[in-house]
């Protein structure tokens, strides 16, 4: 009996932590479903989703506008829905948002002079690396040829010839 009483609190604590974790997961879930407005037009909703996954939420910067539950993200989703419904194109809406929030809102950075290093950087690293590898391999090969120059060959031969009688040399 006593053992059980001692045991119970630790079990209860663990259980409560688990329950807390499960509940906190669940509230997140509930929020996500609540915030999604009723889709009376699935085709339009798909376009809203597609466009809003390309856009960064400015409040929680590592989330897209589609993922974020921030108030601003919801407002922007509503804006996108409204404007798409009014017949504006994806490009027009993107321009509308970039005009207000800057390129920062785009998850896919635009091709501009100042993003040249960003887009070209990986290629630059790849080809630079290949170039460096080719260069250092060629130099190594060159060094091997040099190592077998006439003087060193002569010296090696002399050593090899002498190597048969090392003890005699010393005595």
């Amino acid at each position: 009996m006593k053992a059980e009483i001692v045991k119970q609190p630790s079990y209860g604590f663990f259980f409560r932590i688990c329950l807390l974790l499960i509940l906190s997961m669940h509230t997140g879930f509930a929020q996500a479903t609540e915030a999604r407005p009723v889709a009376d037009n699935p085709a339009l909703e798909a376009r809203v989703d597609a466009l809003s996954t390309e856009l960064r939420c400015l409040v929680c910067q590592n989330q897209t506008i589609a993922d974020s539950q921030a108030g601003l993200a919801q407002d922007l989703r509503n804006q996108i829905r409204e404007q798409l419904a009014a017949g504006r194109s994806e490009q027009e809406i993107t321009d509308y948002l970039v005009q207000r929030y800057g390129d920062f809102i785009l998850y896919r950075p635009p091709y501009r002079p100042y993003t040249l290093l960003l887009w070209g950087g990986p290629a630059l690293l790849l080809f630079g690396g290949i170039g460096w590898l080719a260069f250092s391999l060629a130099r190594q090969r060159h060094q091997h040829a040099e190592a077998l120059s006439k003087e060193s060959l002569d010296a090696a031969r002399a050593l090899l010839n002498a190597s048969g009688t090392p003890k005699q040399d010393r005595t």
Binding site: L58, Q61, R100, F104
Partner: protein, 176 residues
């Protein structure tokens, strides 16, 4: 040989410099593309009994501040005493943009903490906020006599921000 041995050190120093610069940047502050551009037009109801509208054009010819605030905004509470003090100096009109708030809450807030605003306008659905690229309250825009945005303060106005960033610009614009 000696020069080659220094290469890792140089790479390390280069990386450190870049990381050190990175640490001084604030990723929350996104430069506004609206600086030196015409301020987006608005036509909004004022936060008072009359409910008269205020348009962007009404502010033509004046250097003024547009301060985005809300009663639910915690950082606005920090900023508020600075604005109240500043408004007493009568340097320029301060227009409040009451962002996604309820009138009753907003009026209550002004009653409690003081009203630094020449007037406040009501942006209940945040539409004008989107036009101004507002993503965090409080934000403050300095707008010149020709209706162009000249400066944007993201986050609360502190006494330092006021003295260092805002006042020199206001003086320059008012002198021009």
């Amino acid at each position: 040989m000696k020069a080659k041995a220094l290469i890792p050190l140089l790479i390390f120093i280069g990386l450190t410099v870049f990381l050190a610069i990175g640490l001084t940047l604030n990723p929350r502050e996104i430069p506004s593309p609206l600086i030196d551009k015409p301020a987006p037009a608005f036509n909004l109801r004022q936060l008072n009994a009359s409910g008269q509208a205020l348009k962007l054009a009404d502010m033509q010819g004046k250097v003024w501040l547009l301060n985005v605030w809300a009663s639910w905004c915690v950082a606005c509470r920090d900023e508020h005493p600075v604005l109240v003090e500043f408004s007493k100096r009568g340097v320029l009109p301060i227009i409040g943009l009451n962002y996604k708030d309820r009138d009753a809450d907003a009026l209550d807030w002004l009653q409690k903490f003081g009203n630094p605003y020449t007037t406040s306008i009501v942006d209940a659905d945040g539409r004008v906020g989107i036009d101004y690229g507002v993503y965090g309250v409080p934000e403050t825009f300095l707008i010149d006599g020709k209706g162009r945005i000249r400066y944007k303060q993201i986050g609360p106005i502190t006494p330092e921000v006021l003295e260092r960033e805002l006042l020199p610009r206001i003086k320059e614009l008012q002198g021009a």
